[in-house]
Symmetry: C2
Subunit: 298 residues, 2 copies
């Protein structure tokens, strides 16, 4: 879908709102706004509207606007149903941004937008069947089949797939992927075993690389659990490519290589997907919002 239309993409995160103006994959302007969730959901909603109106005033020629948020998202009706991080509760963003700007507005989920952006313009360029996994403080995924995104409110929510970790999860169950493989859960498990005070997965990986055997064990368990979920994904969907993004993907080959090996040794006759790192970094959600905006033009 190469396009010469100028669009605005807005990616609403827990800490900041990334807003940009783009033409296809080319980002020609960006601006960041604090989300200010500490001041409540209404304030955060106003910050999104401020971002939209600010970029719209600077680029009145933009043809459409895309907004993406985390949590449970009703893309069809343009509503942020629920977001744990930013306290959104049934916010009709599509309508609000349209009322403000008069432009066609698309609305969607941040990780699914990121998956679409990575598949169209990033690490998955040229592939039509991909799975994008975002591993950060939470874990979510985006399923793309024959170039079509699975965009139902709970589609791709692999963070709560059972990997039999034996660890309690915030959702109330035991054994979920998020209980063992997010940055915070990797740190928590290490801290518990080593009586330490690490903040994230990166420190555990660094300790492991320095020869800390407990750190190695914790890191390997986290990576293995991701491998389990991705192997299940390959069995079910046979994606040609799996793209890993989010904070943990900064581990690079320390993440990709063992996952690749795990998947390879847990498949027999099935074709292996390529396992790669995301390329668009923390702009993927914003660029995906721009792609959604283009689609709002029909």
């Amino acid at each position: 879908m190469p396009s010469t239309e100028l669009v605005i993409g807005i990616d609403v995160g827990g800490t900041e709102i990334k807003a940009g103006v783009m033409r296809g994959a080319e980002v020609i302007y960006t601006e960041r706004f604090p989300t200010g969730r500490e001041n409540g959901a209404d304030h955060a909603v106003n910050q999104v509207l401020l971002a939209a109106s600010s970029l719209h005033q600077t680029f009145p020629e933009a043809a459409a606007i895309g907004v993406v948020v985390p949590g449970v998202v009703d893309a069809v009706n343009g509503i942020a149903i629920y977001s744990e991080n930013i306290y959104f509760d049934h916010v009709p963003f599509k309508q609000l941004v349209h009322d403000l700007t008069g432009k066609p507005v698309a609305f969607g989920h941040d990780v699914r937008a990121g998956g679409v952006a990575e598949t169209m313009y990033g690490a998955g360029k040229g592939y039509k069947n991909s799975f994008f996994m975002m591993i950060g403080t939470g874990i979510a995924g985006a399923v793309i089949i024959e170039g079509v995104l699975l965009d139902s409110p709970y589609g791709g929510e692999v963070g709560h797939m059972d990997v039999a970790s034996g660890l309690p999860c915030a959702c109330g169950l035991t054994g979920c992927l998020e209980s063992i493989s997010t940055g915070p859960s990797i740190a928590r498990e290490y801290n518990k075993r080593a009586d330490a005070n690490f903040l994230g997965g990166r420190e555990v990986l660094e300790a492991s690389l320095s020869g800390d055997l407990v750190a190695t064990e914790v890191w390997n368990s986290a990576v293995k659990a991701i491998g389990q979920v991705l192997t299940a994904t390959v069995n079910l969907l046979a994606p040609e490519i799996i793209i890993l993004g989010g904070g943990l993907s900064k581990a690079g080959s320390h993440l990709v290589d063992p996952i690749d090996q795990y998947i390879d040794s847990h498949l027999t006759f099935q074709p292996r997907p390529k396992i790669v790192l995301a390329k668009l970094g923390d702009s993927s959600g914003m660029i995906g919002a721009g792609i959604f905006a283009l689609r709002a033009l029909g």
Copy 2:
């Protein structure tokens, strides 16, 4: 896709070929042919061509022909890449049947055809996001997202998802769903533990219902493993409906109810899919072949 076009659907099984003429969901004529795989792949291919030419001669007004087979299928190019059961090895069915009849021909996978038929005309009517699982001597699935079938050669092959059964699988790995939940594997496990000689899952279920505790344990383990795979499927795809077909689905509520309970107790915030039995019986593949035929008309 209601249609008044008459089409021919041919479902090639290990034992027999089901061929039919239909208008939409309405099957107006059927005929069965022995596959004769014991006489080799060439013979089986000829039997498929015999079925096609026979029905085409009787219904020359049929607008298109659909052929579906088990195994690894290249739907785009119309080739049966590999079939363990019938020994097909790169058979270009689409071309062969077109050369024979001069009609547009569609080609595809039997279980995926069944999933499309069940979703359009059977138990999943009215739903756009469904998962069809066929549980018989093997286990395979069909993923339908927004009304679109995932039709890549290995899509939906959930039979080899790891359920940690601890049992060896024909694929060479240990722990696959097929190692514990197919009819033959249920019987095998029971026979091993009880020193019996059961042939399929049905006898194990009957023994369980008569109070045989070993049978109950084996049945419950098989059903639990299916529940594990379907829970993973819900996490990944959030289907609105899951349709269970194949020989084991004759167990009815003895299959559906425990699976429903397993899934319910292994999800928290996620919406629950409906779990239902297939409605089209062993005609689903043939009706699906007819649907594929319609699509070949464009």
